[in-house]
Amino acid sequence: MATTKNLSNLSFDAVKADLIQYLKNSNIFKDYDFTGSKLNVLLDLLAYSIIYGGTYSNAALYESFLDYARQRESVVALAQNLGYVPSSSTASSVVIPYEFEYSGNSIIPPTELTIPKGFKFTASVENKKYSFVVPTDTVFTSSNNFNFIGDLSLVQGSFIRSESVWKNDSRIFIKTSDIDRKYITLTVNGETFDLSDPSDILNNNAARRLSAEKVFYIRETIEGWTEVYFGMTEDNSDDSNNLFVYVGGIRPSEGDVIVVEYLVTNGNDADYCTNFKAIDSITNFKSIGIIVEYNAATGQKIDSSTYYYSSGGGTKEDIERIRKIAPKIQEAQGRCVTANDYKAFILKQFGSDIDNLNVWTEEGISGRAYYAIKPTNGLTTSPSFTKSINTYLKKYNVATITPYYVDPIYIFINTVLKIDYDPTLLKISETQLIQNIINDIQLFYKNTINDFGKAYYNSRLLTVVDNADPCILGSACDVVLVKEFPVEVFWSLNKAINTANDASYVDIQPNRSLYSIEPIIYNSTELHIESTDIVDGTESGSLIIGPQTATKVFINETDASSAGGTTISWAETVSNRLPVNAIFTLTSDTEEKSFDYTVIEYLDSAGTQMLVQLTDGTNGLDRDSTYYAMITPYYFNLPYTGTDFNSATPSGPHYVENGVWYVIGDINYVDGTFRINRWSTMTTNTTDPSSENSLWEDDFVRMQIDVPESDIYPSDGELIVFEPYLRPEYISVKLNPIIFNKKLK
């Protein structure tokens, strides 16, 4: 018998061969290697037993490491050891302006109305109804003795209450995995205890809690449930100085009544719910509904039932994200200092809504940390979402650093695929084949380019396309790069160029502070255009933007700079652009600060004036500064009429029909630069720029450019994306059937 064993081989046949080798040293049983012998059957069982045990031990060992664990419960348990409690489902939420009317008989109605926690509403999305509840008692005051109006916060789900009597060895579980842990409340004999998030290392560390504090803690169990636990009341253990065994907070006494209330939610299934209707009632009060708004121009009622929709719902935290964030949260030690810290904190709290996140700082600009987010659904984030991120980060970051959200600039790759296929091998419809190809491309992007700064390689894409179906014989594709700029960003580019008085060569760098413009020639590694791509023998073409709506025009702002106090107003002649409560930003050209304003009222029904109010608590505007409404750019008056751009009249899938495109510069096909040289012309009469959302077909402008060099290396901070549902115009598949002549085969 060999004295050393190879323990690494855990295949059935190898283990059995090892056992047979051992038996060869014995003279008693000799039939070990004949398949039909009973000894051979026993060896099978023995080998099976060995590999079963070995495989189990191996898997168990793997499950004990955060990097390799495959079971969610293992990852969660290991993350919790690092002080990170993975986030639960998140309830979709909405704030609606709501009205109640006093319907009682009293001559003197009450001055306040309390809408109790748990007051129920229903709302629907795609014919599915969901229940919404008021998360906390909300007080409305009367506006005219009979009408009670206010903003009502709603969260999706239902509150469940469970009551139990505490024993010393009690454990309290919330036996469902679909809860939003933010809304857990707990009372002990009627006394409210506060939820202490153990992952909040800085503020709510269990070891820092005093023994007399009324707090409770939560953790996720291996079943995916939530366990509620308490502190130790006082540390009377032998090793009282050992913080590892100390948990601050009062522990209930035997016989105490524990009441736990929690919110069971449907997560992101209930996003985009509209038509909120109260189904509970309050004695002596009648529910009127969401406050009716009026069209400023026509005076007509606006159907506001669909204005307000729920958002922000999320599923339980994915294990891959837990694996990624937990060590970073521990590394951050409760403080946002490095870019990784910011990433960890943002993803921890808002990760279910974030697909990609980039955080950076700028050399020479102190006091600012920038972050850009590609949301899970769609391409843009709401101002309220980024505002809540900023508020959250304030608790953890260094006091002198202010986080700024910057919209990411996406690079879309407009791909025209030409595919030869053998129709005799096609087992599905052509439509299905195209859909399968698009699905495979989407997977390719998800697996290989799913991060800021990741490069795109055309040959790899074509490999994916070639393997999409056995009938595909070969493929080729043309690549056009497209950058989309939000309209307000485009306007700031415009303004910045005017300020710099240098409109020669520009590069739009998304990750610079507030999209600063720098005179720079395009780096050939970013946008490489070869001289072989000279169109029609010329060396340059026009750079155009658009499409704009041809039928609408901008108006000149008349009174934007005369604001003072807390309100600002200006003339409006185009109807129905900004709903009441829309939030937008005003920016001064003399100082780099911006304020959030809320439209609170149209002064008259004709919509000739609009009133906006500061919502961030700042004490008004500086009368000496000119403030621009940064919503849309001014008009350009230079519609594109030529045919030199890409040797074609703008039409087809990349252009919106009837839209107007404007020339803003030219492209040099030889050295790969593009030049924006029409700014000054475009911005004539823009001393007091106004805004007009509806001027544009889309709320963004596009710049696109042919790229013969098909490998794309985005600059740091740019994100290449593929969104076949949001931007179906950026992918087209042309199938070309090839019929083989059998004689040639």
């Binding site: 039939d31 398949t35 039909g36 009973k38 080998a47």
Partner: protein, 131 residues
């Protein structure tokens, strides 16, 4: 030729009885060992052996059919294939499967030679009853 005392094949006894004198695990040797091995193979169904589902004769699948000439031919083929594949110690000489429709059974008789020691005309006979 091997002497009477020489043991060239040995295996655990079929029912795992202990030896009446030594109380050790019972052992079968030589020809009996081979015969028990053949019976064991023929009574093994596909999928019974761990990690080797192809080992076996799958006789039981045929015992749900009528005991007729055709089934007997198929059964015979299965037996020959199994023994040739998994029992290298023997050389088959005759495999006879007779169907008895009246009693719903097959009478199987296998005659073989043990190759290495050249023991000729060994025979196994048994009945298989259809269900």
């Amino acid at each position: 030729m091997a002497t009477k005392e020489e043991i060239f094949y040995s295996d655990i006894i079929f029912n795992m009885e202990k030896h009446p004198l030594t109380s050790d695990l019972g052992i079968v040797t030589n020809i009996r060992s081979i015969k028990e091995s053949i019976i064991n193979l023929l009574l093994t169904n596909y999928g019974e052996r761990l990690y080797h589902p192809e080992i076996g004769c799958n006789i039981s699948a045929l015992l749900f059919t009528n005991a007729n000439y055709i089934t007997a031919k198929v059964l015979k083929g299965h037996i020959i294939t199994t023994i040739n594949n998994y029992e290298p110690r023997v050389l088959l000489k005759i495999v006879d499967v007779k169907a008895s429709p009246d009693t719903s059974e097959f009478v199987v008789s296998i005659t073989f030679t043990v190759i290495s020691v050249n023991i000729d005309n060994q025979q196994i006979s048994f009945k298989l009853k259809t269900k």
